[in-house]
Symmetry: C2
Subunit: 217 residues, 2 copies
């Protein structure tokens, strides 16, 4: 059982893998999802809260004419599915074969402590910050800046100067509000300028991190 102090500190510290572990498996069940399998649908009731155990997840919203916007990507330890309302505004799908810990909200409610409430609230606040940064990115950055910012964020999360992309070019395009062709051109440009170097299609190294940071603004 976790103490109040631990939980409170968790609430006001930076996101971390350690804290994320506090959604105990005793509360929910770990389920496997295949690549591209839907975890929950848009406009479905938000009855569950989720945590990535293994693999990766994207949240997406589809417009009636097929245009797609990706809300965010989630990696092991990340909590997702905390929605502002009763219903999910975005759907969630596995990027690759994944294991997801699923906790029913009613279970949370029954066993809830004030600390758990606050943990959920902390998750919501983290979501809010990322959404706000996404807004700045989408509203005022050029294609080059968008792609540079995206790569910077990926690398920061992975903490190293190389990383593996869990998602396709189409996913990146739909996250950045661009087309797949534009994403491809910008990646090529970054490579031509010796700022990044790809090894295969999914793995890359940052060669000139100063230049990348400058491009990301």
């Amino acid at each position: 059982m976790l103490s109040t102090v631990q939980s409170y500190n968790a609430l006001f510290s930076q996101p971390s893998a350690t804290r994320a572990g506090q959604l105990s498996t005793q509360l929910g069940v770990s389920l496997p999802y295949a690549r591209d399998e839907e975890i929950y649908g848009q406009d479905e009731d938000a009855d569950f809260i989720y945590q990535v155990v293994k693999g990766a997840v994207r949240t997406t919203r589809l417009m009636s004419d097929g245009r797609r916007q990706i809300g965010d990507f989630y990696y092991p330890g990340d909590v997702f599915g905390i929605e502002p309302d009763e219903a999910h505004l975005f759907s969630a799908e596995a990027l690759s074969d994944s294991v997801i810990l699923v906790v029913k909200r009613s279970t949370l409610r029954d066993t809830a402590t004030v600390e758990l409430d606050r943990l959920v609230y902390a998750g919501a606040r983290r979501e809010l910050r990322r959404a706000q940064e996404h807004v700045l990115l989408l509203g005022r950055k050029s294609a080059r800046e968008k792609v540079a910012t995206f790569l910077m964020n990926i690398v920061e999360r992975m903490s190293g100067d190389g990383a593996r992309l869990s998602m396709s070019r189409q996913d990146i395009a739909d996250y950045l509000g661009l087309t797949i062709e534009t994403v491809s051109r910008m990646l090529t440009q970054l490579q031509t300028n010796r700022i990044i170097a790809f090894v295969g299609l999914r793995d890359f190294q940052v060669v000139n991190s100063g230049a990348l940071a400058r491009l990301a603004e």
Copy 2:
């Protein structure tokens, strides 16, 4: 003392205007702000929570080269300044001469009640939902759709089929990720098509709400 169930329910219920009034003046102090006056700055510590009493507020983020993104607009009853981290990502300024209720966070923590928790949760959830919709708008909508969506939202908030814009064309542009000229052209187009009708520069009526909704997607 608050029960777990009450607190949990507060977290997942709908926002409402009635509840918004509950941030009591006993907890904080109402301050006047002049047009364009800063309420808090970007990267400042988020020590306070705010509620619009009178007037209107915008939150903005400035890039180093002067590009500006507006996060959201707030009207009487709206709570703002609930930030994901210790520091504000956006700054806040009065759109017109306004009165703002300011509550210190530490006060909130000390005197926390069910109602207060609920109010802060509701504020955070509303922020998140609006940010997510903003992401969809910025990422995947055309200029015409952006402006139509914006007007729809304004009208919905005001509940009528006419409304007054509290902000300038530049503010609208910076909210929608467009230029002032494009906003102007789209407004002209909507008027030419008999979908809206302006009375002066700030007041408008929705003439054909079906068409407006269709344009907003």
